[in-house]
């Protein structure tokens, strides 16, 4: 399917002296970069480092102000993404671009459908060709399955298959693992290895430095629109990479932990069952502790939280707040009891991005900024915005700034601020650091630690085990909607958590000595 590489080290794509400015911002300044045939080349840097801009230039979405792109030895200028794709450069964005109601085969060939002699769709050929590509990637996905029924991970594989069917020689992947579980990531890496062995050059963008060791050959670091360095993977330590990315010494990934879990039970959940995902889950949350929720995707982590919060209906089980039985039939019930839920998908579920920052900050507690008869008080709203912008160090030019125009880290702070303004006693963070950069992650961790220290109970749902181990006091591990283990964080490690998550660990309940 691909031309066999003659020399694995020959340069496939080379950019030199690229410069791109947007009004008020120099996004890329004199950037150079090269990609060889059959290598996986990681691109790392904080948000705003210029990675996305460079990718958009390579894939023909935008044009550079200056600089040259040499592709397979020839200087090229792409005027559109279609041109770049025709030449063999494809990009898979974070948000997948599949059509949910079409089948896998129809999606792979969308826009390029093979036709019969009668100029009608040749569904048969589509299916066999799709099957050929899927087998090449060792995927067990049916070409006639409708895409909307597939899990995210398989949808991503379909996207890769689609790109391959276009005979791409350069594949750009933007945060491909952000929505995948550990086992799905392993599958993805196998596919990436297959591609590499066929001579495809892969540019791999990720915030998860840990995972790079499994696949990356070389690594280039960007900071503030500038190219910093390229090294073979392993030639520099991960710590040095992070320091180079942030441009300052980042001593630790996680802040020092001074919160002291108390013995006071804030929240007690007994034998909760909800929908098809949550079958039997019990746990306790103590005042001042950070409780990690671990488990594979589909284990019911988020669903437990949503049921407790009243966002989804419950079938069975009881919830006690400070010992008293409570009923959370809707989010507004839970909020009245001081429970807050920060959804995993901020933009989709957590924020009204077209509204202002102050309007979002006060959204969960509008009564607090209104006077008699439900009339709003702009002065109270402004005061709340000022208070939380300062205490959470939200970087914004104006209090009524549209949330859409804030960075990911600042958006997360707005969501947190929303719940602090509501005086929540229990905060449930669902994937609190997904898609935000290293520096901002640290700030979110600091915030969580501070809240726990001030007596809030925190539940942190996370797919990233280092985050679970680094930030939680205890961990509960879920497996297929049931509690698999409750572990004290200092006494456990990644392997143990993973084995419980995969359903192979011995059930045990060390719990807390109270």
């Amino acid at each position: 399917m691909w031309p066999q590489p003659e020399d694995m080290s020959d340069v496939l794509l080379k950019v030199e002296g690229i410069r791109k400015s947007f009004p008020g911002v120099l996004a890329l300044d004199n950037v150079s970069f090269e990609l060889r045939r059959g290598e996986v080349h990681a691109l790392v840097g904080e948000n705003g480092a210029g990675k996305s801009t460079l990718m958009k230039i390579l894939s023909g979405v935008i044009k550079p102000d200056r600089g040259t792109i040499v592709y397979k030895g020839e200087p090229v200028v792409f005027h559109s993404a279609v041109e770049a794709q025709a030449a063999g450069i494809s990009i898979i964005f974070q948000e997948l671009n599949l059509i949910p109601h079409l089948t896998v085969a129809q999606n792979i060939f969308v826009g390029r459908e093979p036709l019969t002699l009668w100029r009608t769709l040749d569904e048969k050929k589509m299916k066999t060709d799709a099957q050929a590509i899927l087998s090449l990637l060792n995927l067990k996905i049916s070409p006639s399955a409708e895409v909307r029924h597939l899990p995210i991970s398989e949808q991503q594989m379909v996207e890769i298959a689609k790109v391959l069917s276009q005979k791409s020689e350069v594949l750009i992947m933007d945060e491909p693992t952000s929505a995948l579980t550990e086992s799905e990531i392993t599958e993805l890496f196998k596919v990436i290895h297959t591609l590499r062995d066929h001579g495809v050059g892969i540019i791999y963008i990720s915030h998860r430095l840990e995972e790079l060791k499994h696949i990356v050959d070389r690594l280039s670091i960007f900071r503030d629109g500038q190219y910093i360095s390229t090294n073979p993977y392993g030639a520099v330590s991960l710590k040095d990479v992070v320091n180079a990315m942030v441009g300052r010494k980042l001593e630790m990934q996680f802040p020092p932990r001074n919160n002291v879990p108390t013995t006071e039970v804030l929240l007690e959940v007994n034998h909760l069952a909800a929908g098809t995902r949550v079958k039997d889950v019990s746990f306790k949350l103590y005042r001042g502790e950070i409780l990690g929720f671990a488990g594979l995707m589909g284990s019911g982590r988020s669903e437990v939280a949503r049921a407790v919060f009243g966002a989804d209906p419950k079938d069975k089980g009881e919830i006690r707040l400070l010992g008293n039985l409570i009923h959370t039939r809707s989010p507004s019930d839970a909020i009245r009891q001081g429970i807050a839920y920060l959804p995993e998908n901020r933009k989709q579920d957590g924020l009204a991005v077209l509204m202002g920052m102050s309007e979002n900050l006060t959204m969960a507690n509008i009564p607090a900024i209104s006077k008699k008869l439900g009339i709003l008080s702009p002065a109270d709203e402004k005061a709340a915005a000022v208070q939380y912008t300062e205490s959470l160090q939200i970087k914004t030019p104006r209090y009524d700034q549209k949330v859409n125009n804030l960075s990911g880290g600042n958006q997360q702070k707005v969501v947190v601020g929303k719940w602090l303004f509501n005086q929540s006693k229990i905060l449930i963070f669902d994937e609190p650091t997904r898609g935000i950069d290293v520096g901002a992650k640290y700030a979110v961790y600091q915030l969580m630690e501070r809240l726990a220290r001030e007596g809030v109970g925190i539940i942190m749902i996370s797919s990233e085990l280092p985050e679970i181990l680094g930030m939680s006091d205890r961990v509960i591990v879920l497996h297929e909607g049931r509690l698999a283990a409750t572990l004290n964080t200092p006494e456990t490690d990644q392997e143990q958590i993973l084995s419980f998550a995969a359903g192979v660990g011995q059930p045990q309940q060390p719990g807390r000595s109270t």
Binding site: S332, P343, D349, M355, G356, M363, I375, L376, Q401, K402
Partner: protein, 322 residues
């Protein structure tokens, strides 16, 4: 809502009103006269009120197609009530309560049966129209004279010593429109329920997870639309001093046009009462001005259609650039 963009929108649309005004004042004799301006305000007031109501619904990312039918139903019921001996105030209240009930019905279909707003109000559009045609057998009936006072009398009428009218006065309909615009502007911008309506239109799931009672806020939006349709229905019946079971057909489309010209987004989350007022006046000025220049009703339709498309196209282009 936030930012300079919105205020820029206002400058644009308001500028359009001023320019239209200037153009017609120069090209059409008798356009810029007190009498004509008052007539124009009177004719536009009904579109304005419907436009405000439907703006509430559109901000929640919904739509209300039943407005024209609600106008016919409420006006007719008010006239019938007056004809069976109810005093005028009570007869008109019957109309208004009916409008609120119609809005509540629309809202419940959307929130509790979870019907798409387009389908729910398409259905009630037919049902309400069917009801009013059935109970009247499609006949118009005259109302008592007193019932016509509100729609035909004016305030501040000035006449000289010989009884010649110097200033014809401002119609009660226009005054009611101004009052409605102020009240519903206040409700949308300055109160909790208004904030809820914007929030659910901007991101319904985020609003729900923030504890906002989404169904309640949507119900309010549909009730506002039903109520304002009823106000228009009762006022039109009063002005004609008859019931009009066949009246109001297609009025909802004028209302939606006014709202959209005024910057309301059909995707929800964006829109203002002021925008609906300005949008309706753009339509009103075009109608009057073109009529005075001798353009046919048919040609006016073409112009207004172009304005709707143009207004939204400009908005899209500017969004793409930013």
């Amino acid at each position: 809502m936030s930012g300079r963009r919105i205020s820029l929108d206002k400058v644009f649309t308001f500028g359009a009103v001023v320019i239209l005004f200037a153009v017609f004042s120069v090209t059409a004799t008798n356009f810029f006269t007190v009498r004509n301006l008052l007539t124009m305000a009177l004719q536009t007031s009904t579109i304005t009120m419907m436009g405000i109501g439907v703006t509430y619904v559109i901000i929640t990312a919904g739509i209300d197609l039943s407005i024209g039918s609600v106008i016919a139903l409420t006006g007719t019921l008010a006239v019938m009530a007056a004809n069976v001996g109810c005093p005028t105030w009570l007869a008109m209240t019957v109309g208004l309560v009916t409008g609120i009930a119609c809005g509540l019905g629309n809202g419940l279909l959307v929130t509790h049966l979870r019907l798409p707003p387009f389908i729910a109000t398409l259905g009630t559009m037919m049902i309400f129209r069917g009801v009013v045609l059935t109970i009247t057998n499609a006949n118009s009936n005259p109302a008592p004279d007193e019932f016509g006072n509100l729609g035909n009398l004016t305030l501040f009428k000035v006449a000289d010593a010989e009884g010649t009218t110097v200033f014809p006065g401002i119609s009660y309909i226009v005054l009611i429109m101004i009052a409605m615009a102020l009240i519903f502007h206040f409700l949308l911008k300055k109160t909790r329920i208004g904030r809820y309506i914007y929030s659910i239109g901007s991101n319904e799931e985020a609003a729900r997870l923030s504890g906002i009672k989404v169904s309640q806020a949507k119900l309010v939006a549909y009730v506002v639309s039903g109520f304002l349709s009823a106000v228009v229905g009762v006022l039109l019946a009063s002005r004609m001093v008859t019931s009009q079971p066949n009246g109001g057909i297609g009025y909802e489309l004028n209302a939606i046009a006014a709202s959209v010209i005024g910057g309301t987004s059909l995707m929800g989350g964006i829109g203002t009462v002021g925008g609906a007022v300005v949008g309706s006046f753009i339509i009103g000025i075009l109608n009057t001005g073109l009529t005075m220049q001798g353009a046919s009703y048919f040609a006016q339709q073409i112009v207004i259609g172009c304005v709707v498309i143009g207004a939204v196209a400009i908005d899209q282009l500017r969004n793409r650039r930013s």
